[in-house]
């Protein structure tokens, strides 16, 4: 019996017994009991999931306006571009030894990304709900998977997260509740991976709190990413989606066929500490010094500009990934 059922049975029993006793008691006393019961109900509703306040079902096309510039139409990430990422010293250390060839390891070609990729990647969302067959309440919201991201199930039935000994899956484990009109979800049990394609790591201890705001045909999704291993502060990502009629987004992505991308089995590409050849890549291309390009919590805030103003020198001509559509360079005027 769930908590709602327990409450219902108790209220029914209490009211029934109160009514039976009523001739012997004052109306005021039984009235105060009812008031107390209602108060308890209100208290419970404040902490119990409220089901399906807003309709989220449909195909939501990606509108890559913000925090999606690592994909079309924005530039690809350059190696060691950690700007605006609150990496701690350990996270930076991992980022600096990362080799882009890692993703060509036979074991990793089809391993892809944790659910954070919903906000990192360029793809739209297909969302639908699963209902309890007798009363129609939403048990779970489902968000499609893709070739490089697992499907997300958002459990709305109040179930607990699995134990620390349970496996960590490509999709993680997500529970949700409505807070006003915002679906708020919490994801644990994710796999280790990358929080940014430039090599910034996420650990398997990472968690994600995601909020889905619907404003008419626009869906804004924000995520707070907490990683006790590699982030000094929470990292926030935001993406925008728009309700599309056509084309309908599929519920699953294409299959992945493992090919040979040139890295032999049992070989682990990486750089030794202090020997990453791309350390000054951002400086050479954009004139941005390592104090900013290598990330850290302070690079999330505007004051970083003051710190680097004497070291930053804009290149005479931008030649790579200058923000134009499709990654075409924009020349400075």
């Amino acid at each position: 019996m769930g908590p709602d059922a327990v409450l219902g049975a108790l209220v029914a029993e209490l009211l029934l017994e109160t009514n039976m006793d009523r001739p012997q008691h004052s109306e005021a006393r039984s009235g105060s009991i009812r008031t107390f019961g209602v108060a308890c109900l209100i208290m419970l509703q404040a902490v119990t999931p409220v089901f399906a306040q807003i309709e989220l079902s449909g195909s939501w096309g990606a509108r890559n306006y913000s925090d999606a510039l690592s994909n079309n139409p924005g530039p690809r990430w350059l190696p060691l571009d950690f700007m605006g990422l609150p990496l701690n010293a350990t996270g930076l250390w991992r980022g600096l030894i990362y080799s882009p060839s890692t993703i060509s390891m036979p074991e990793r070609i089809c391993s892809f990304y944790p659910p954070i990729y919903m906000l990192m990647g360029p793809f739209g969302l297909k969302i639908w709900n699963e209902t309890e067959p007798r009363n129609g309440t939403t048990i779970a919201w489902h968000i499609n998977g893709w070739e490089d991201r697992g499907p997300t199930t958002i459990w709305m039935d109040g179930r607990a997260h699995p134990s620390e000994n349970a496996p960590h899956g490509m999709s993680g484990f997500t529970t949700g509740q409505w807070v006003d009109d915002v679906l708020t979800t919490y994801t644990t049990h994710m796999k280790a991976g990358q929080v940014r394609k430039s090599g910034a790591p996420n650990s398997d201890q990472v968690t994600m709190t995601t909020r889905y705001f619907r404003h008419g045909d626009i869906l804004t999704v924000t995520a707070r990413i907490d990683d006790p291993e590699y982030l000094a502060e929470p990292y926030y990502l935001t993406r925008t989606f728009q309700l599309d009629v056509l084309p309908a987004i599929r519920t699953v992505g294409p299959p992945c066929i493992q090919g040979d991308e040139g890295v032999a089995e049992e070989v682990v590409p990486h750089y030794l500490p202090g020997k990453n050849p791309f350390l000054d890549e951002i400086m050479k291309k954009y004139g941005i010094p390592p104090e900013a390009s290598l990330g850290g919590a302070e690079t999330m805030y505007p004051d970083i500009r003051k710190k680097i103003k004497d070291k930053y020198k804009a290149p005479e001509q931008c030649t790579y990934a200058c923000g134009g559509p499709g990654g075409f360079p924009l020349r400075l005027q």
Binding site: P3, Q24, I33, M43, N165, P167, V252, V268, P273
Partner: protein, 340 residues
Amino acid sequence: MTALLSFQKIFRRAGLFVGVCILTLTVSLPLARAQQAASSVEVLQVRPNFYMIAGAGGNIAVQIGSDGVVLVDAGSEQAASKVVAAIKRITDQPIRYIIDSNADADHVGGNATVAKAGQSIFNVGTEPLGGQAASDMTNGFAATILSTDKVLMRMSAPTGKVAEFPRNSWPDEAFDRNRKYLYFNHEGIDIRHQPAAHTDGDSIVFFRASDVVVAGDILDETRFPVIDIAKGGSIQGEIDALNRVIELAIPPGPFSFAEGGTYIIPGHGRLCEQIDVVDYRDMVVIIRDIIKDMIDSGKTLEQVKAARPALGWEKRYGSTPGWTTDNFVEAVYKSLKAAK
């Protein structure tokens, strides 16, 4: 008087109601962030016929079928009775085999108690098969304890010496080859000796139909791998053994967005999939390469430790009492120096 009793009755009910409200509030918290284990021993279902018992020392694998129960490891001596109780809660089949993945006390300490709670395959009905000889061979018709001969030698002792473990916990079926196999509960069970990984006596156990690999302490999700050089462990043997686990396991694909594939039960910590072992192997290889580079450039052990070659994983794996980052770095350093 009647009014007073009724008043008390109302308040008693109200009190009950308050209590249940508080209880209900507690259990209905919508985003409970972790499932609390009912006791110190947790049973996780891996497959319909396969379980992992955690919290009893090392992890224990449990395969169940009409032939009986096969365990990989028995946990610690202290937790043995809880392990037996946990197994009885999930099946009434007798424990037939315990396969020891190594000779550490947190994996074999429960051998005697758990084996005694089981029943040898030489005792299949009301009449034991083989009489006294079989009884002597099977620890009194207890479940068979199977391991590499290295495990048997570490647990026992030559005549006149004191053994580390009591006799009834020693393996009674030991093998000295690279491979041993059983066909039990309608599936092949492939036991592969890894000669120099965590120790010199480690076994990887592959349950073919269940598609579960039990890695023992070759894979430890709670700490850096314990490379026990004094007991024959080595960094290269550890990497080789992790590669064997990866080789045996298959990830989800071509539908890569699906969950699952082969499950791997580590010696400690959470249930894994192939990519988790790849992550762990990569970590060990990278740290090995960093330390090797420093040795090649003439760095001493103290200089290597001071350079923090495992920094990227220290917080995740390096704070376990008894096996710290420094312990691991030192083991890798000594293993590499010894191999030169």
